[in-house]
Symmetry: C2
Subunit: 895 residues, 2 copies
């Protein structure tokens, strides 16, 4: 690495890096450089590149020459600040912070006030004339350093502090005076020695390198690894380290610190939005230990700084052309910018900001489309509380308190006071709300397992709020009224005591906390689109949603269809913008009402005659289903898949049911039982299913095709136009499709003759077996269309049963043998290769072959992008995922 | 088809076709043309091409102009023979015979004596001065024509004939005189009218076209379709039709007919071998109705003809450079050649003739290698009767009779008197011997289901003998002593009565028929190679076998390994020429003796400690296994596959067993039962198996690797060199192999350190999942070798569970949705495509990557050829298939 630059300087109006160097400098380092170059007041510092992190974690040592370069950088900082690191008279103090390519809030380590020891603390006190500040900084440094760098649990020193506060009879740290804090120092150091067996380091340079080691090392701590997995962040990105001159927001009443967003991160509203704490260090705001004041208090206390900050935030938003999340500190009346980055936001805020910024002329429609993570649109469809039910609850005195509306939506669940409990209960199928005094990075797993998060302390930018927003979880933060006791596992609020396991409801849009369960209703978008209980003009959210979707539709070339089996599902999907049915599974209809009896009779008949008799009963039912669906899908294509699952899936399970069926069919119990046993399969996934059913029992195909085509003919007579596509499942060899196509064409001709009318129809196949993809050139000879069934294709390509993978797939994901669950996001390397081969071969035979996908991947944004790149004609997904797919398809064009 | 020539003439020393035109003229037509061109006495005739058959069966009519061309050909025949078709004074008579590209013995239809009616029969009588012959020919014609062309069952006219014989008190047809036969004609015709409702055609031209229609139509009759399926003959080949001037072997004592082979078709011995019947038509010999005399009788009765025939057969063998099967007729002392073709032969004869012909300088070694169908070598390994057991049986008066040794080998089974019974019993798992008076094409299915075939009538070239030889079935034919009664389902022989279902034994090498079961012992080749109970010089078969194998080894480039799990299997495979182990399945060892208890304990342990304790018990056992195997395989590579099957396969099934295991492990029954239930899988084939076991439980891999490597190290100290290849199963993603490779390398290093010695080893993987083949470039980074596990690869690529396919795969094969069972012969189009991709990608990463196959396809000749074409390094198959693979690999080079 000898020729590689691994330390970048910034300070006093010019920097070696800039905002484009995020991959190398991390987000924080790149933006510090950019702000410096923009002439904003940034304390000087250096950034050690993320490449060093990767090198360090691989080789367990630093690249040659790094030490010297860092120390050279330190000298520049000293020169610029006019102070020396370790100077007992006027010491330069440093912060060491992580900063990866993407923000990982609270995930990784930070050490502040580096450079303090028994000598330099005196110089600090002298220079600031503030003994309390000096020793407060020193004891904070020991607390932080012993924890982050020396690996000691925070609770040990907290216990020392608590003991002191108790002895002095005070409640808050701020009530301790300078002498109290001075007295803490030797006690702290002794405790560190006792617990870690090591002396607390006095040499500032040792302290600095300890900090750097710790930050680089923190890339691999468990919670960071978990977070990256959750957010698909590659392991090899690494983090940069930023070493900056310290500025202090806690030197007294002329100082303070804050974080702010250039727009509301929960709702997307265009207003300067943030929080501020006087006489505090930045960590106090983020950690949620004290609940801060809103940003307008800054204007009152520091009008000049507020003015300057306003100019800066506007400049930043215009410069970056996106909503910014900024951190600042005021030291003795002077404003310092410590960080800026693209602000995390809820799905609501995300799409609203994107739409607004287009209207403001700040970004283009294309940019807006790329700004919204398609999966976030889910939030617009998520339930909200039913107003009547909520009013009832409040009237019945079940309203408990109000906190900050940190993550919109409605959530109900049992109280869990710890992440472990939340995870455990979730596993047992319970809905859980995680209730914490404050959350910390250790709680991520528990937050993920919960319906929503409720905290007693912390603001809109607290850990809980930030992470919940990003996860799309409902969150009410900083609800001071809660008095939580982890020991007794209960909390007191509004005069009541709630125990762990009790039901509670939170409204993340209003901040309300309510006892018990509250009924939920559909979101605004759903109310307008599906339920028609709200008019479009009543919902701003709906209007902006439609605007964004319209832009997406203008851009995308992929058609979006839906997987739906029932008329109501079809109707919903259409209202979400579905342009057809990509997969209608006929077997779902077989279970409805008492038709399952006819199905079972068909399966268990001994001969063709018996099967036909049963199928005759099913025909009018299937026809009714299809007619209803076709009516809804008027003018659009609808793909109907012929019967797919192995027949034993339809059979009765208990002896009682078999007995009943035997009576009905007029055969003996033993006979039916034997037939059922005969149908047993060792690997039903690879058994007698799909087109193998229709081939051995063509009468089933005949009935289904008749039901489809009679429906279409009859609707045509009514003037309803339908584009039926009959899909043969599980084809592995062209002869299978050929055989089924013969049956289909024969029945269609017959129906046309009977009905005296002709209709258009297509016959195609699922490509869901590797062999189908590999021989797609042959299969295309018999197919009008291909639909990639990527669920089964994933199962066969990986040799992985979805039903059984639970025994090892989670382990694979945790241990990074696989980066993503291939059932969630298409495995482009393996399964995707087959999709490519299938399309290429299929179109080599039939260039105009219509190709789509109908596995669950059809609603996964990265899979949609893949489908676009493969020149598919459409993707098909569940109704709720249609908007996601529309946006993802547009993004695919733009990328 | 207007420009296509579809009728070829032959006769009088020159022909329009020749032997190279088999595809068009069929084997019979091409060889008739060739013999004509060679100046041999062939009755003149025409061949209508097989293309016409395809056209006729597709369009249900003949191509334009065919009628005229055929009639023109007829005129040429008339001119050459100096007779006219239908001439009441001196009629030309014709035969109409099928003749496809390959011989389908007895499968298809023939009509003789065409052209006879009430007028022409008088001309025939006048010209031959033989009234009996005339009416015998006429009544035979009516019998044959009414059956073949008019679709009437033969039994009706047979009954008429039998009634007449009874009335006259005679036993044989030949005892009926001219008047008897004359009297039969009107009765026959009346019966035909009664049964078919149609008049028997009198017009010779109508008769001829009826015959042609029937032959072309017979391509599609059931038994022909079945035969083609059995022998992989494509449906679209069709048959040609040969129309020839009739010659008669039944005009009296100066006439006769025969069939002969230029070498012995059962043993391959070099001697003129055949059968002859005086005063008979050719069909009498083949149909097995009369048992003929051996060919040397011809020399006695027709010395001049015998001399001429000897010259012809030698000329033919030299000309065709292969053993020929010839048919001839002597009419009034003149020899006519009616057919010649390559003679069908047993596996024994096949390889012996090939080796002999090389020694005689007739063919090259390369040709010899291509002459033997590799699967036929199986016959050399098939059991023969134990001499002591057979002697005992004979001494105890269990010897019943002696017939013709028509199909070598030993077979024991229950007597079945009908094909249906044989098929039915075979399905029930019984061993069956089909015992028939004579067999006919309808019996093929039953012959296939039987261990062997025994007939009371018919010679070495009878239907039973021909078909049994080709199927490789043991056969004793023409055992006159049998008195079979289909009605009572019993047979009398040697004073005893045997019932259907009784056990019987036949020795196809000696012709002996023995009551009850006789013990079998290994074949000569096995006795020399494996059992050492015979010396090489004692077995000519063995010597010729070794010679052929040596030639094969000189040619082939593929290495042949074996799939073997036990030392004795390995030893046998080595003696068959295996050059290493391609697949040693370690799980088979897990079931042995009481080690299954330790395996179960390992599986059912709750924690690592418990599993390790159980694995510690298994280690010495596995090590013992490996050491024994490695010792046998000294100097050769041995691939050991790590544990593969899902763990539940090892679990106890009954509650009693679970109870016992619970006691042994000191846990409760309920606990174990619950664990067992927890391990249940819906699709075990796609479940927690293969490397997924070693990844979740690395301790299993550790134990197995330790057992392997400690064995190799200890053997090295003894001076025994081994090349271990550790194979990781069911890899789908490179990370899986990487993870297992880390464990393997770590344990190996550890063992090297402990043992103070280093050994070479390789780590590779099965490619048995589509994803592995598709990402082989990545996987090759971690692999020293690939072994294609085509069993599982076939299952996943087709989405076809071997255990469940029985419900539909037979239907697929019967209905030609699939041409061959993909588990028997590699599906080159689909699965083979993945093999190609896997090799190409794997070698793109690692050009020297060693690649083999270890699925059951490794012993299938066409799959071996495929592997050769893909430049694999080796194929691996079960020990008994090693010789087959050696030969197939040589053939692959030669093709």
């Amino acid at each position: 690495m000898s020729n590689i630059k691994y330390v970048y300087f910034f300070g006093d109006g010019s920097a070696e890096g800039n905002a484009d160097m995020k991959n190398l400098l991390g987000g924080k380092g790149a933006n510090l450089a950019e702000m410096t170059n923009l002439g904003m007041p940034v304390p000087p510092g250096i950034t050690i590149t993320a490449e060093v992190c990767t090198y360090y974690n691989k080789n367990n040592q630093y690249p040659e020459g790094l030490k010297e370069t860092v120390e050279k950088g330190l000298t520049r900082i000293e020169k610029m600040m006019g102070k020396r690191f370790g100077d007992p008279k006027d010491p330069l103090l440093l912060s060491v912070r992580s900063g990866a390519r993407v923000s990982m809030p609270g995930m990784m380590d930070t050490v502040l006030n580096l450079g303090l020891n028994d000598q330099t603390v005196q110089g600090l006190i002298e220079k600031t004339s503030n003994k309390r500040f000096g020793f407060d900084s020193y004891r904070r440094f020991i607390q932080m350093y012993s924890n982050v760098v020396m690996g000691m649990k925070g609770e040990h020193l907290e216990a020392v502090l608590d003991a002191l506060k108790q002895k002095k009879g005070v409640g808050l740290d701020t009530e301790l005076d300078a002498e109290d804090l001075e007295g803490l120092i030797p006690v702290y150091k002794a405790k560190v020695k006792e617990i870690t067996g090591k002396d607390f380091p006095e040499d500032p340079v040792d302290q600095m390198w300890g900090g750097i080691d710790a930050v680089f090392g923190s890339w691999n701590i468990e919670r960071a690894v978990f977070y990256r997995k959750l957010n698909n962040i590659p392991e090899d990105w690494g983090t940069a380290v930023n070493i900056m001159s310290m500025v202090f927001g806690n030197t007294g009443e002329k100082s303070g610190t804050g974080v702010a967003f250039t727009r509301d991160p929960a709702t997307g509203e265009r207003r300067f939005y943030g929080e501020f704490l006087k006489n505090a260090q930045g960590e106090d705001v983020v950690a949620g230990i004290r609940t801060p004041q809103t940003i307008d208090h800054l204007e009152k206390h520091f009008p000049q700084c507020y003015k300057e900050l306003t100019e800066i935030y506007q400049k930043l938003e215009n410069h970056y052309r996106d909503m910014q999340d900024i951190e600042f500190t005021i030291q003795e009346g002077k404003l310092w910018m410590l960080q800026c980055r693209v602000g995390k936001r809820t799905g609501f805020a995300s799409f609203r900001i994107a739409v607004d910024m287009v209207e403001e002329g700040l970004i283009t429609k294309e940019e807006a489309l790329l700004r919204v993570e398609p999966n976030q649109l889910n939030q617009l469809l998520r339930p909200i509380f039913d107003l009547t039910s909520k009013k009832d609850a409040l009237n019945n005195n079940r309203g408990l308190a109000k906190g900050l509306n940190a993550g919109p939506g409605a959530a109900t669940g049992r109280i869990a006071f710890s992440a472990e409990t939340a995870i455990e209960w979730k596993k047992q199928g319970e809905k859980v709300l995680l209730v914490r005094i404050e959350t910390s990075p250790e709680d991520i797993g528990g937050m993920n397992a919960s319906e929503g998060v409720l905290t007693a302390r912390g603001g809109m930018t607290s850990h809980a709020a930030l992470v919940a927003r990003q996860m799309g979880k409902v969150c009410v933060a900083g609800c001071d009224a809660l008095d939580i006791n982890y020991g007794t596992k209960e909390m007191k609020v509004n005069g009541q005591t709630l125990k762990e396991g009790d039901y509670i409801s939170i409204d993340g849009t209003t901040g309300e906390v309510i006892e018990g369960e509250v009924k939920t209703i559909p979101s605004e978008v759903l109310q307008v689109l599906v339920h028609k209980t709200m008019k479009p003009e009543e919902s701003e959210t709906y209007q902006k949603f439609v605007e964004l979707m319209d832009w997406a539709d203008e851009k995308r070339t992929l058609k979006i269809r839906t997987n739906a089996d029932q008329p109501d599902q079809c109707e919903m999907a259409r209202s979400f913008g579905a342009e057809g049915i990509g997969l209608c599974r006929t077997e779902h209809m077989f279970f409805e009402g008492d038709r399952i009896d006819a199905v079972r009779e068909m399966i268990l008949s001994d001969d063709l005659k018996g099967r036909k008799k049963a199928l005759d009963k099913l025909l009018p039912m299937q026809k009714g289903d299809f007619k209803a669906i076709f009516r809804v899908m008027e003018g659009l294509p609808a793909t109907i898949r012929l019967l797919d699952p192995p027949l034993h899936e339809f059979l009765p399970h208990t002896d009682d049911e078999i007995q009943g069926l035997a009576r009905q069919m007029g055969v003996s119990f033993d006979h039916l039982k034997a037939k059922k046993d005969h149908l047993h399969e060792f690997n039903p996934m690879l058994g007698h299913r799909g087109c193998r059913l229709g081939i051995l029992y063509p009468e089933i195909t005949e009935m289904q095709v008749r039901a489809i085509i009679e429906s279409v003919c009859e609707l045509k007579k009514e003037g309803v136009r339908v584009e039926p596509e009959i899909m043969v499942p599980l084809v592995g060899h062209v002869n299978e499709l050929k055989a089924q196509r013969e049956v289909i064409d024969r029945i269609c001709e017959k129906v046309f003759e009977e009905q005296g009318i002709q209709v258009d129809y297509q016959v195609g196949t699922m490509i869901e077996l590797p062999r189908a993809a590999l021989t797609a050139d042959k299969i295309a000879q018999e197919a009008d269309f291909f639909s990639f069934g990527t669920n089964d294709l994933t199962q066969t390509t990986f040799g992985l049963s979805r039903d059984d993978a639970g025994k090892f797939l989670p382990f694979y994901l945790e241990n990074e043998l696989l980066q993503v669950d291939p059932f969630v996001s298409l495995d482009q390397e393996g399964v995707g290769e087959l999709v490519k081969i299938g399309i290429q071969k299929g179109r080599s035979t039939k260039p105009s072959l219509k190709v789509g996908i109908c596995g669950e991947h059809g609603g996964d944004p990265s899979s949609v992008e893949f489908c676009h790149r493969q020149n598919m004609n459409y993707v098909s997904c569940s109704p709720f995922r249609v908007p996601i797919a529309r946006l993802a398809a547009a993004q695919a064009v733009l990328r």
